[in-house]
Symmetry: D2
Subunit: 368 residues, 4 copies
C-alpha cells in the first residue's frame, strides 16, 4: 500500500477571525488546500460556555477555505475536522495547528522503516441534549475512534498517542428544549455540562483503545476518577452538537518527517512527565536543537478535584471569580511554555477522565 505523507504546521493568529497566515501558505503554494485534514486551534475566549471565539474561528476558516476546496462554507466542516479550544491564559499564545495528508507519489524514495506520524479523523452523529455525558455519547465516541484509527491506518492501539475530541455542551436553551420533551439532561448548568461532555468522550476513547474495561458506562462519568485515558484530549464548545475526532499516532503506512510520543502528567506541576514526553521523541528541554525540532506540545490541564496538589491546598475550585479551567490552563501553560521556550503550545482545560485526577496526558510532535 502506498504510504501517505503528512504535514503539520503551526500558525500564529492575530485574533479568532484571523485566517491570514493559513491563506498566505495556500497562496504561496506551500500548502495544498485539498490536503487539509484537520485544524486544531487555541482561541483567546474564556473557554467556557459563552466563549464564541471558537465558533467564530471555525466560521472564518470555513468561509476562507470554501472557495479553495470548492464547497459552500457550511459544507467545509463535513470534510475538514475543526477543533478550537478556548482559553490562552497566561503565557499561552493563540495559534492553529494544521494537519495535512497527501498520497506519497510512487517512486518518491523509500519510506522509513520506522513508524511515522499519521492522522485520521471521524465524526459522530448529532447528540440530543439528554445524551450528553451519558452512554450514548460514550458509545458513539467508541465508534468514531475506531473509524479514525482506520482512517489513520493505525492497527495497534499502542501507536495512538493523541486523540483530540471536540464535543458539545448544554446551554439554557438546550436544557429547556430537552425538558419540553420530558427529558432530563445530566445537569442544568452550562459550565458543568462541559465537564460531563468531556468526561463521557474521554471514557469513550479509553474504552475504544482498551485502556479500561468494556463494562464501564455513563454512571461512572465524573464519579470514578480512577478510570481514564492516557491519550484523550477533550474540549467542549457551544459551536457543535456532535463529537469530532482527530486521532494522531505513528504508522508504518506514513512517510511523514514527524513522530509523536506522549506521557501522562500526574498533577499540574509534573515536570518529570513533561520531560519524559519530550524524550520519547528525542527532545530535551533547554536545548536549542530540541526547540527547533519541536512542532507542538498538546496537553490537558485541570484543577485537582480534591483541592490539593501534593498535599498543599490550591484555590482553583473555590474561586468564584475565575473558573478552575482558566486557572489550570494558565498554570500548566506556564510550565510547558518554560520547557518549550514558546507560549504557542496547545494546553486545553478540563481533563475529566483524561489522565488521572488533577493530571492529564501530554503529547509531543517533533520533526525526526
Amino acid at each position: 500500500m502506498q504510504p501517505n505523507s503528512f504535514d503539520v504546521i503551526r500558525i500564529p493568529t492575530s485574533g479568532p477571525g484571523d485566517v491570514s497566515g493559513l491563506m498566505a501558505l495556500i497562496d504561496s503554494g506551500a500548502l495544498e488546500p485539498s490536503s487539509i485534514l484537520a485544524v486544531l486551534g487555541k482561541t483567546e475566549g474564556n473557554g467556557g460556555v459563552n466563549d464564541f471565539t471558537r465558533e467564530y474561528a471555525v466560521a472564518a476558516l470555513c468561509n476562507a477555505l470554501a472557495p479553495h476546496v470548492e464547497l459552500a462554507p457550511r459544507e467545509v466542516k463535513a470534510r475538514i475536522a475543526f477543533v478550537m479550544s478556548g482559553g490562552t491564559e497566561g503565557a499561552l499564545s493563540p495559534h492553529i495547528t494544521v494537519f495535512a495528508r497527501s498520497p506519497r507519489p510512487e517512486g518518491a524514495g523509500e519510506g522509513s522503516s520506522e513508524k511515522r506520524l499519521s492522522v485520521g479523523i471521524a465524526q459522530t452523529r448529532d447528540f440530543l441534549p439528554e445524551e450528553i455525558g451519558r452512554d450514548a455519547q460514550i458509545d458513539e465516541t467508541i465508534r468514531a475512534v475506531g473509524a479514525a484509527m482506520r482512517d489513520a491506518r493505525i492497527d495497534d492501539v499502542s501507536d495512538v498517542h493523541f486523540v483530540q475530541i471536540k464535543c458539545p455542551l448544554l446551554t439554557s436553551e438546550r436544557v429547556k428544549e430537552a425538558r419540553a420533551r420530558g427529558k432530563t439532561p445530566v445537569t442544568t448548568s452550562g459550565y458543568a455540562s462541559m465537564g460531563y461532555s468531556r468526561g463521557a468522550s474521554a471514557i469513550g476513547v479509553a474504552k475504544a483503545l482498551g485502556e479500561i474495561g468494556a463494562d464501564v458506562g455513563g454512571s461512572q462519568v465524573l464519579k470514578d476518577w480512577g478510570l481514564y485515558s492516557s491519550v484523550a484530549s477533550c474540549s467542549a464548545g457551544i459551536e457543535l452538537v456532535h463529537n469530532v475526532v482527530i486521532l494522531v499516532g505513528n504508522s508504518r503506512f506514513s512517510s511523514s518527517p514527524f513522530r509523536i510520543g506522549h506521557a501522562v502528567m500526574q498533577d499540574a506541576i509534573d515536570l518529570p512527565a513533561l520531560m519524559q514526553a519530550l524524550e520519547s521523541v528525542g527532545l530535551s528541554a533547554l536545548d536549542a536543537r530540541s526547540q527547533s525540532r519541536l512542532v507542538n506540545i498538546f496537553a490537558k490541564a485541570e484543577a485537582s478535584p480534591d483541592g490539593a496538589i501534593r498535599g498543599l491546598r490550591h484555590t482553583m475550585l473555590d474561586d468564584s471569580d475565575i473558573n478552575a479551567t482558566r486557572h489550570a490552563r494558565a498554570a500548566v501553560g506556564g510550565l510547558i511554555g518554560g520547557v518549550a521556550g514558546t507560549g504557542a503550545v496547545y494546553v486545553s482545560g478540563g481533563a475529566e477522565h483524561q489522565g488521572p485526577a488533577g493530571g492529564g496526558p501530554v503529547a509531543v510532535i517533533a520533526r525526526v
Copy 2:
C-alpha cells in the same frame, strides 16, 4: 560582634484568617514570638484593589500575636513587618513565610566563615495620595532600604538578593480626598495606581543599591522600562499607606543555616534563569535532595508590556475579564511550581521596574 541567628519557616494556611499554624509553632516552643521579624505571605484574594484578604490576614496575625509580644493589636505592625501579597492563581498555594532573628548565644560554636542569610526591616512614613508613584515615594524608599541593610548588617550591595516592599494603592476615596485638597494623583484608576506604586518603590530600591543612576526620578516611572532592580519585589495593597521593607541577603554577621541567591527572569517562561537561581544556592530541579533543602522561591511575574513573549502574542493585557497580574502569577507559578515540586512558592504580580519588562527577579532560599 556577636552574630545573629535567623530562622525561616514556611507555613501553609487554610484561609486568609488562619493563624493556627503559626500559633502551633509558638505554643510548641519551636518559635519564640519575640524573635519574629517579618511575615511574608501569599493570600488567596484577587491581588487587585478590592483584595481584602491582605488586610484581613494582617489583622488576624496582629490579633493573634498581640498577647505573645505584649502589645496591643494595632501596635504589632510597628514591630513586625507584615507583607501580604494577594493572588494564588493556578497551582499556587496560600502560605506565609516567617523570618525570625535571635542573638546567637556566646560560645555557641564557631560561625561559618561563609556569609549566611540575614534579614533586615524598615518602614517609610505615610504617603499622601498624590505622592504615590512619584519622587516622594522613591526617595523615602531609598532611605528605608538603607535602614534595612543596616538592620540586616549587610555592607555590600552585592550581598542583597531580595528586597520585598509592600506599598499602598489609590482607591476612589483616596483620589477624592487628594482632589479635595487641590492635588492630582498620578492616576485615578485604583488598579493602575498599584503599578505606579510598585514601580516607584522598585526605582527606589534600584537607586538605593546603585543599580541605576542617581538622576532617575519619578518622571521615568512606568515610562522607561530599561530601568530596573534585579532584586526588588514590590506588592501593592489597600491595607497600608506607607512602604514596608523586608531585605534579605547574606551577611558575615549571620550564623543561620540558610543562604539566599537570585537570578533575573528575562520573560515569563525563562526556565534557564530559574535554574540559575537554584544553582546559586546549590540546588537543581528534579532532584529529591534539592527539594528537601529548598525553603522557598520568591519571584515577580508580569505580562510583557509589548504584548508578546519571544515574538509571539500573549493575550493578558487585552483580557477584560481577568487582570494581567492574575494571568502572569498563574503562568509563572506553574513554571516555578514545576521546578520546586510544590505550589507553596511566593509569586507576586506586577513587576514594574522589577527585572526587565515582562520578566522579574527570582530569589531562592535554601538550607545549606
Copy 3:
C-alpha cells in the same frame, strides 16, 4: 406584658473591616451596645465561595463590640446575630443595618394600638457537610424559625414579613472531610453548594410558616421550583457552619416607630411588586417624603433558571466570567436603587425557593 422598643439604623461602611460608624453611635450614646440584637450587612466581596469580606466584617464587628458587651470576641457571635451578604454590584452601596431591642420603660406613654416592627433571632446547631441542602438543614431551620418568632413575640405567621438566614457552604476542604468519613455531600462544587444551602433553608422557613406542606423534604430542594417562601431571604457564606436566623415582622408587643411590609417580585424586573411593597408601609416611589421615611429595602435576586425573563433570553446563566448571582444582584439593585433613591439597600443573590423561580421576596421597613 411590657412592650419592647426597637431601633433600626442603617450605617454606611468604608470597607469590610470598617466599624467606625457603629462605634461613633455607641460612643455618642445614641446606641446602647447591650441592646444590639442583630447586624445585617452588605459587604463588597464577590458573594461567592471565596468571599472573605463576610467573615472579615464579622470578625471586625466582634472585636470592636467585645469590650462594650463585656465578652471575649469569639463569644459575641453567640449573643448578637451577624449576617453579612457579599456582593454590592452596580449601584449597591456597602452598609450595615443594626437592629436593637430594649424594654420600654413603664409609664413611657401608651403604645400604638397598631402592630409595630419587632425582631427575633435564633441559631441552629452546627451542620455536618453532608447535612447541607438536605432534610437535617430543613428541620433545624424550622425549629430556629419558631424560636425566632417567639423571641419576636409574634404569634401569627401573617405578621412575619422577612426571615433572613445566614447559612453555610461547602469548600473543597469540607467535602474532603465528609468523604474521609464515607459521606457524600449533596454536591462537590462550592459555588453550587451555596444554592443548596440557601434552598434548604428557604424550604425550612416556608414549612415553619405554613407556606408549603409538611410533606416537602430535602429531595425537592433545587428541584421543584413551585415550592417557595414569600418572606425568606437566605445568604450562604464560608464563615459559619450553622444557620443564623433574623426574623422581622410586626407585633402588638412592640412600641417601635417602624413598620415592615413585603411583596413578592415575580421576576427580576417586577417594578409593580416593588411598588406594592412600598405601598404596604405607606410609601411610594418618586416622593421626597417617602424617601425620608424609608429605612431600608430587603430583596432577593436571582437569574431565572429557565434562561429567560418574560420570554426573552437572558445570558446570566451562560456567562463563564461572572456568576449569575452577581448579575442578578446588580440588575435588581439598579431597579430598587432607582425606586429607593439610594444604593444603600439590601439586595442579596441566590433566591432558590425564596419567591418564585427568577423572582424573590422584597420587604420594606419604614418609619411610621
Copy 4:
C-alpha cells in the same frame, strides 16, 4: 420634497452569530433588504477589549445580507451602518434594532404635520492609533455628525435625540505599531483606550450640535467632566478603526409612524429622568398600552467617576474582578428593564462626556 418612510424593528437573537430573525423578515417580504440603513445591536460579550462577539455579529450579518444587497460581504459595511455594543449583563437581552428607510410613494396620502422619526448615517475615515482620543477623532466626528444630519434631513439640532457612534479602541498590537513609527498613543491600556475613544467621539457630537463651545479640544477629553452631549451614545470596539455614526431624530420630511424623545439621567438610579424620556413620546411606566407602543429605549450607563452615587460609596471602580462598565450596564439595565417591562433594551456602557459624570442620555422610540 417627497418624505421618507422609516421602519424600526427590534429582533431578539439567540447568539452573536444568529441572523435567523432578520433573514425570516426578509424571506417573508416584511423587510426589503435594500431599505436597511443601520443595525444597532446588543451582543453578549464582555463589552471590553477582547469582546469578539461584536465583530462576529457584524461578520455574520454581512455574510447573510451580502447576496440580498448584491454586494460582496466586505462591501456591505460601506453601505449599512452596523453598531454592535457588547454586554448584556443582568436582565438585558441580546437583540438587534434594524432601521430601514424607503421613499414614500407619491400619492400615498398626506404626511403628518408633526415631525416624525428620521435616521441618517455617516462614517469617518480610518484613524491612526495615536489619533484616538484626540483632536483628530473629535474633528472627524464633527464632520460625520453633520453629514448624518443632512442624511436624516434634520435642520434643527434640537430635533436630534440620539447619536450613536461606534468607535475604535487600542490593542497591544496597535500600540506597538504606533510606537514603531515613533508615535505615542493617548494610553497603552486597551481597556482605558475605550474610554478615550468614546470620550473624544462624544465631545465631537457635542461640538457638532452646539452643546459645548468650539474651543473645547482633545486636551479636555476624560478631564473636564462638565463638558458633555445630552444625546451622544458611544460604544468602542475592536472590530473597526474608524467612527460610524447613526443619528436619530424627528424630521418634517419623514412620514414614519414613530417618534423619538430623550432625557438625561443625572446618575445611574435617576428614575425621574427615565420617566421624563418616556413621557416625551407619550408613554408612561407600568402601563400596558405604553408597553405595546414602546419600540426600544437607548441609554448610556457608567460608574460615577467620584466613586459615589448621591453621596454613598459604590464599589464599581475598585472592583478588580469585574470592570466598571459591566457593573453599570447591569444596574441601569435593571432599572430600565423594570420600567420597560422587558430586558431587550439598549444599554451601553462607558458614558464619558455622554451626559453628566455618572449619568447618561436616555432616548425612547415609540409608535405614535
